[in-house]
């Protein structure tokens, strides 16, 4: 098991959304990424993480055995949130009114496979009562909200190969329009979807699963930004528009590395095309200012 984040005492990023027409800027909402953490483990490491999702001192404790029925994505996602919470400069801050937005890629597949194998042998009485609450798209955001006692909105996003782009698109708009003090935006995905036994749904390969949690808050004087730009000239349907453009398997890891670099004071930039004329950019405020000045 590896935890791919670096400690930083001065981590905060500015999240900026620029919605531009060809003639004018329509809206420039700003918000900050004030902490993040990237967690990675394998199928065989999930059980350990399920029992102890945060190996370092946790600023917030989950109820006992809270993750025992949780989907693998939820286990990794909550672990990432706990690690990111540990990186807050103010460890006493309340997240009681925060929202939880979770964008897993193909959540619940292991439980789905085991359920379908069970149905084949036992009939529908073999469907676990955990399937609906735990392995659907809302399962991770619900678990974060319930487990950490957060009363802001909670919902799942995406669920498919474009979950990263869908999640960021919603996140960048959410703080601009909602009176919430902050949100957790969580992404999870298997590096390579594990092959499962057709007999009982158990994993046959020890694939790696990773999760990135980002604490996003209203803008301050932050050293870095994420912005989304929309090119109005791209407003026509064609084969280039058709289909998603941001499903690279390494995109989540690249985003995490960009956040690490910016947290360490380096100039870094990460971009993602949405496929509908918009692009999302994570970049340091310095590099943005330099470009604007140029």
């Amino acid at each position: 098991m590896t935890f791919g984040f670096k400690q930083s005492a001065n981590e905060s990023f500015l999240l900026m959304v620029s919605v531009k027409s060809s003639m004018e800027t329509l809206s420039q909402p700003h918000c900050s990424v004030t902490s993040h953490a990237f967690v990675q483990t394998t199928v065989s490491g999930i059980d350990l993480l399920r029992k102890n999702p945060c190996s370092t001192r946790a600023v917030s404790e989950l109820p006992p055995r809270f993750l025992r029925h949780s989907d693998e994505h939820t286990v990794v996602g909550i672990s990432a949130v706990l690690h990111a919470m540990n990186r807050f400069e103010d460890q006493t801050r309340s997240i009681e009114s925060w929202g939880a937005l979770a964008a897993p890629r193909h959540p619940g597949r292991l439980m789905a496979a085991q359920t379908l194998c069970s149905v084949r042998t036992k009939g529908v009485s073999g469907v676990s009562t955990q399937v609906i609450p735990q392995c659907l798209l809302h399962g991770m955001s619900s678990a974060v909200s319930v487990g950490l006692g957060m009363h802001g909105p909670n919902f799942g996003i995406g669920g498919g190969p474009d979950a990263l782009q869908e999640g960021l698109t919603i996140a960048v708009g959410f703080l601009h329009t909602r009176i919430v003090p902050g949100i957790w935006m969580i992404f999870t995905q298997w590096d390579q979807e594990p092959v499962l036994s057709a007999e009982d749904g158990s994993p046959l390969s020890d694939s790696s699963i990773c999760g990135l949690a980002m604490a996003i808050e209203p803008a301050g004087t932050q050293p870095a930004r994420i912005r989304m730009s929309i090119d109005r000239s791209a407003c026509s349907w064609n084969d280039q528009t058709k289909g998603p453009h941001a499903r690279a398997d390494h995109a989540l890891r690249d985003l995490s590395q960009a956040l690490d670099s910016i947290a360490n004071g380096e100039l870094a930039r990460w971009s993602l095309s949405s496929g509908w004329g918009a692009s999302l950019h994570v970049e340091s405020l310095n590099s943005l200012s330099s470009r604007e000045a140029a």
């Binding site: 809206s27 009114s97 193909h106 950490l148 009363h151 329009t177 909602r178 499962l196």
Partner: protein
């Protein structure tokens, strides 16, 4: 703003003084496939709940649900192509396309940035299940990671705006509506389609049945769904899809579009209590209602109808009634409350958008739809009920509650829009 709403409330900033209105509705539901048909069904107290062949769902004995049958093929889609789609995609595409046609925008859709936000909670589980029952192995070896339904719908209709899927269990399509409204107000899109849908599969039926969330009554399908009644014992599962077209009131006025109502306010909160059971502490559900009123700039005195989430579960109906009493305060004895799930069944991911249509029905017809089978109201569900028959009355604004597993609470307020002079 009330102190309860201010304390951790979630409502839209007045960042854009833009009214967002509903100008098109499309639906594939057990109570009809158009706004007119659904309105007629709701106001006449028609039930869509019927007996189904149980072995299709791996069950025996009598089982009742609200099913959709034939799904209309949308315009410009080849029947062969449409027949290749699974029923969830068919229902979503059909209703989404119909909403654009209804709004008068179908032929103009390539000239606008049209976004789509869909509330679909169990898309992938259902796709894997359908594939498994057809002899496929996708759930075991996921080699084909195709597009999600929301992208396929967007591409089928050749739309060029953003597309996302969101899920908040039984409140999914309500969260979708909230995000779509934001996109219109921020100017990210000219028009946004929003809604959602669900279909019933053996695993989804069994999942709810084994949780003991479904009614176990097997006498008369017309009597099974009985929200707020003392003899209720769970909800009746349903399926269907509905989408609506959102755009700015200015845009709608400029093109002389029919306006069904203004989506005036949204409020969201979470119980943070349990993954399944609603919190017995009604404060947080009430917070969603109060936040929606605050967002809409209204008070309880302005609300003339509440479409309750009330699915017919023992705990959920009581918790919601308590939340309504807190939020509506001294007006609670004046505001009629009904649950249209008594007629439609529980459309799951599609429930919130269907019940938004019920609110727009109340505004359009100035008549409140009833709660069927409310023979003996539960004393712990003490609100102003509308039992058995619809009730004509003045409806200026209507609130629709949606509460999902995982404690996701949402309230949307729709407001009457004056006709142009």
């Amino acid at each position: 703003m009330s102190s309860l709403a201010r304390n951790g409330c979630v409502s839209a900033h007045n960042f854009a003084a833009m009214n967002v209105v509903v100008t098109g509705i499309g639906a594939v539901t057990p109570l009809g496939h158009s706004f007119e048909d659904i309105s007629a069904s709701l106001l006449s107290g028609k039930t869509a709940i019927r007996e189904v062949t149980p072995d299709r769902y791996g069950r025996s004995g009598r089982h009742f649900m609200a099913k959709i049958d034939e799904i209309p093929c949308p315009p410009e889609t080849l029947a062969d192509e449409f027949n290749q789609m699974d029923r969830l995609e068919q229902a979503c595409l059909s209703s989404a396309a119909q909403s654009l046609v209804n709004a008068g925008l179908w032929n103009n859709r390539s000239n606008m940035r049209i976004g789509i936000v869909a509330g679909i909670g169990g898309e992938h589980l259902k796709q894997w299940e359908i594939d498994f029952h057809d002899g496929g192995t996708q759930v075991f070896h996921l080699t084909r990671t195709g597009q999600s339904v929301v992208y396929r719908i967007r591409d089928s209709m050749q739309l060029c705006g953003p597309a996302v899927c969101v899920a908040a269990a039984c409140a999914s399509s309500g969260y979708a509506m909230a995000i779509a409204r934001d996109w219109v107000r921020m100017g990210w899109v000219d028009v946004c389609l929003t809604g959602g849908g669900d279909i019933i599969t053996p695993v989804s039926l069994a999942g709810f049945h084994n949780l003991r969330a479904l009614s176990r009554r097997d006498d008369d399908p017309a009597l099974v769904s009985r929200p707020f009644d003392r003899d209720r014992d769970g909800f009746v599962i349903g399926e269907g899809s509905a989408f609506m077209v959102l755009e700015s009131e200015r845009s709608a006025r400029q093109r002389n579009a029919t306006i069904f109502g203004e989506m005036a306010g949204v409020g969201m909160s979470s119980d943070a209590s349990h993954m399944v059971i609603p919190s017995l502490e009604p404060t947080y559900a009430a917070r969603a209602i109060l936040s929606a009123m605050d967002d809409a700039g209204v008070t309880p005195a302005d609300i003339d109808y509440i479409n309750a989430h009330a699915a017919g579960t023992l705990v959920g109906d009581r918790a919601e009634a308590a939340a309504i009493r807190i939020a509506m305060n001294t007006e609670v004895g004046r505001i009629p409350v009904s649950s249209t799930k008594s007629m439609s069944g529980h459309l799951l991911s599609g429930a919130a958008v269907f019940e938004a249509i019920a609110c727009l029905t109340a505004i359009a017809h100035q008549t409140v739809p009833p709660t069927l089978n409310l023979d003996h109201p539960d004393p712990q569900c003490d609100v102003l009920h509308v039992p058995h028959q619809s009730r004509p009355q003045r409806v200026r604004a209507a609130a629709s509650n949606s509460f999902g597993f995982g404690g996701a609470n949402l309230c949307v307020i729709f407001r009457e829009v004056a006709k142009a002079a």
